[in-house]
Amino acid sequence: MLGGWWHKARCPIGIDLGEHSVKAVQLHTLRSHLRVRAAASAAMPHDTPPAHEGYHQAVQDTLARLLEQGAFAGRRVVVGLPASVVQFKNLRLPKMPPGELPAAVEWEARQHLEPDQQPVEIQFFDAGEVRQGQEVRQEVILMTASSPFIEAHLQMLARLGLEPVALEVAPSALMRSARAWAGPEGDELRVVIDVGYAFSKVLIGRGQRVLFFKLIDIAGRHWDEAVAQQLKLPRHEAGEVRRRLGREASQDPAEADQTPRSRSQEEAQQAVQDAVRPLLHELAREASLCLRYYGVTFRGQRPQQIALTGGESRQPGLAQALAQQIGVEVRTGAEALTPELSEAATQALREHPAAWAAAMGLSLRDALDQAKRRAA
């Protein structure tokens, strides 16, 4: 690459397709330092989940708008598939040489498919060895995605004139972000809890290896539904109220004190808290179970801290609930992101950097390993 003369490399555009919003970010590496080149986000139309027939058209329109906003360079993109279109399953296989693992995983995956099921694309993470009784087995996180959906996705990208470098999933993108924040050389245990609109994701990894990943069906949409039920509002209006209150609560306390709150605001805040509190505790309990599973399965040490990311991660009370339940320090994305990343970031990225973790991880595909090779 010609840009390598200054150790400068432009990363592909990372596109995080969420059910509530689409985020795109492009990073570049300059002398082993990561910087944000462009970032933009746009809200998705209501009620267009990936299963909806108008989903790809909605994504296409949103992406076209979003790419016009940001000063993105090039047409190469790494797209994160929505979590709901990827099926995750943990498999335990007999121990075998690494070269034989892909074929064995594919064979095993075909055994689990229903006869009338649509064709799927298969990927997996090699989580490592686990002890099952007296046996040592190979833990594999199997991922399948519908081939027609992927084909439709590729056609949509082609209509936008984009060149997909990869279609990824949340775990690898989040793992890459975590590595970028902590430094790619670090081999310590990393736990990321990414709270989105449709799902929350619990990721446990070490180095670049994903050891554990689980989707938890408690996230922003469920909080909206709870608030809507509590406040007797339509779901999307309840969501607006919840998010606005969440933004205000995450402001600098000194700044927040200058704007006096009305009694009705405080009542609304309290009502929202009351509505979502059981769900927050439920989510914290699920996350705690995930860590316990990891501890038992991999006989691993407890993590020193947990990184909290995702668009819904600044929900008031969430970090406290997690810290209380798990007993580990919880750092939000704003604290976890390095200043270099947030320095050149756009306003939206600076306001809520944790929401961009997956998009940044997507943009970072290959960049970390390149930076590590250069440093070596």
Binding site: P102, V105, E106, I122, Q123, L167, R365
Partner: protein, 231 residues
């Protein structure tokens, strides 16, 4: 499928993309090759033009040399013509007049000798041979040695003189004086015999000599002038 880097791009899509990239690379390579060939052709064309220019220069030089050769041939012809004219002029206008010969004889012949007969014969000039129209002068030049000048026959005036001398010594002195004189050549005595003229015995003689005309004659100043100039 890899264990760390996930990519759901179907294999068929990757193959398609790889094929497209390969075609792009091949297209780019073909374009580069075409550009190189074009450049090479342009360079060759430039070189061809240079060689053509050089050839034209050489042709011009050859043409100039041919014209020079033609000019030289013309000059040769003119020279030959001029030589012929010169020869003719020399034949028509002799370098020494008969009176000068008579003057030289009068200075050489002593007063004791009486000339009874003097004959001076000049060769008649050979006329220019008649040539058919268009015939080259060079082809006919060999036919007349005098005209061409290749092997010239020496023009000369043949002189025969007869006279009476008192004795052979005088005749011999005369013959010696004629031989030494720069104007005359081939002085030979035909005979010298006794004769009796009115009771007086004398020697009758006849001498033949020639005056070559293929020379330039310069009349020497009189002896008195030379003496005066020396003094």
């Amino acid at each position: 499928m890899t264990s760390h880097e996930v990519n759901f791009l179907p294999q068929s899509y990757r193959l398609r993309r790889e094929r497209f990239r390969r075609r792009c690379r091949q297209g780019a390579l073909a374009a580069v090759m075409a550009a190189s060939l074009m450049g090479w052709w342009m360079i060759q064309r430039g070189q061809t033009a240079a060689w053509r220019g050089y050839a034209q220069t050489l042709e011009a030089e050859v043409e100039a040399a041919r014209l020079q050769a033609q000019g030289m041939a013309k000059l040769h012809d003119q020279r030959r013509m001029l030589i012929r004219q010169l020869n003719l002029q020399q034949e028509l206008a002799q370098p020494v007049r008969h009176t000068q010969i008579l003057l030289a004889l009068s200075q050489v012949v002593p007063e004791s000798i009486v000339l009874t007969w003097l004959d001076m014969t000049t060769q008649r000039p050979a006329p220019e041979p008649l040539m058919p129209a268009g015939a080259k002068a060079s082809s006919s030049a060999g036919k007349s040695n005098r005209a061409s000048g290749d092997a010239p026959v020496e023009d000369l005036i043949r002189i025969e003189l007869a006279g009476l001398a008192p004795d052979d010594l005088t005749v011999a002195n005369l013959l010696e004086a004629l031989k030494l004189h720069p104007l005359f050549t081939n002085a030979k005595i035909h005979f010298s015999r006794n004769t009796d003229i009115g009771g007086v015995s004398a020697r009758q003689f006849q001498i033949e000599l020639t005056v070559p005309l293929g020379r330039r004659f310069q009349i020497a100043p009189p002896v008195e002038e030379e003496v005066a100039r020396a003094g």
